[in-house]
Symmetry: C3
Subunit: 205 residues, 3 copies
């Protein structure tokens, strides 16, 4: 089930990334690259940081074809995809928590410290979007107040605490995904925001 959710999530990430590329008038190659970086960049960065080789898409290159196919399919369907804002926000929220749980699992397998397990989950869930924004020459969106990385953090902590307290793995996957997904959707609906650190140099005088 986690695997199906993974494929749905990278497809959704690829499609929303393609729209971001289209807003910057990129060519078809740029659309595919932005899609790959967004959908697979988080896992890739996690694996490089943990020295966990081969990378997911090197071992299973067909995910590259899936991501590029989803990105290119978005081009003729752009108006439709953009209009389906809520289904995509929901699937994106699902992707965030699914990626986080998968990342935590890789961290646990690699035998790293609990803090790094949580970090592995957060990197998997959020780094793809950061890389997309860097390539699109934006200040990364997740630093702008949205409750996104925080949801990933909470999902990872709940999942890891459950596992270390002897809960069965399959059940904890469901619980962590359910709580994380609900949190993210609540944050979207109720417009919850992280507090910002607004520092204006000139204020001090």
């Amino acid at each position: 089930m986690l695997l199906i959710a993974f494929y749905v999530a990278i497809t959704v990430e690829a499609m929303t990334a393609a729209l971001a590329a289209g807003r910057r008038n990129m060519d078809w190659f740029g659309v595919c690259l932005i899609a790959c970086v967004t959908a697979l960049g988080g896992g890739t960065m996690r694996d490089i940081l943990l020295d966990h080789y081969p990378l997911v898409w090197v071992k299973n290159p067909y995910v590259l074809l899936l991501v590029c196919g989803a990105a290119l399919a978005t081009i003729p369907l752009a108006q439709l995809v953009d209009r389906l804002k809520w289904p995509f926000l929901l699937l994106d929220a699902l992707g965030l928590v699914v990626f986080t749980v998968i990342g935590c699992n890789i961290g646990i397998e690699a035998g790293v410290h609990p803090i790094i397990v949580i970090v592995a989950g957060m990197v998997t869930g959020t780094a793809g979007g950061v890389l997309r924004d860097v390539l699109c020459n934006d200040i990364p969106l997740i630093f702008q107040g949205e409750l996104y990385a925080t949801v990933s953090l909470i999902t990872g902590v709940i999942y890891f605490l459950g596992l270390t307290n002897g809960m069965p793995g399959d059940l904890m996957v469901l619980i962590a995904i359910a709580i994380g997904f609900t949190l993210r959707v609540l944050a979207l609906v109720l417009k919850w925001e992280m507090p910002r650190f607004v520092f204006d140099r000139n204020m001090r005088r």
Copy 2:
């Protein structure tokens, strides 16, 4: 011969990168760093993704001196280098296809899936320019319609298909480079462009 072409290519990449740094009024250190990232960043990224260590310039650090030397030599020669636009475009086209073939060879040695062999070639050929544009705070040029990454893709596919169909390696190197180089030059002369995905949110209403 591939080795000589490699040294010519990194020298050319270093010199055009130095001009890009000069347009942004960078200091001499910035010029060297942008040159190193542009000339060696593609191979470095490929090796990190494939876990192929030691990196080229760690094993043979003199390429760093060559790249920095070429970049610094560009400073007094800037007017000249800029005026030699066509020789540099041709050498840059040669670099693109040479890097691609070298990248494919590394992928083949590493025993990865054919798709990843092609990706290794494309990363080697194009990632240096993407990293240069990120450091110079631009949207990467190769996403803007130029037939650049596509040439790398086609070169890699021809090279790999030739090898797997029993053609001798040396001959395939020549054929792939000749076809890729011709394609790139035709794209420059005839101003071929990748189609773009232009998505304007406001169009939908």
Copy 3:
């Protein structure tokens, strides 16, 4: 002593990075991430380039807590930290040379070529700031004429030459740090600048 200096340095880097994040109105998560990337990104990049695993903060995750704690503590203290400009510039200069020496040590342990030892020191000393500026969507500051990377280069060369000429390691740490720190402070006080490469395309006609 190098270890204490290391902890002081990453704390200082985290605090100045937090101010940079605050100037861009980032949220608390963004503040922590920018702080981690700035304080630990140089060492992380060095270790990835040298295939030197596990990464410092994966092996000792408490440095992540230290960095995030220092970054969050900067938020209520922003006016104060900003007013303490000189103490922070001095501690930042100390951090630069300490990071450089630590990076050189890792290069020496890894048994790489002397040029790469110096490069390892420079990457450790300067790459964190480059990554911070990329994430904040700026052209990296160290390319803009400040004598920063050059100080790292000189510190590394002195340290390595001393060691290979039979000087005791502890003494060379002190000498290299003293010279590098003095150079950096002199550069700040006397406003020494690297020459720039100013290239304006339109000048040529």
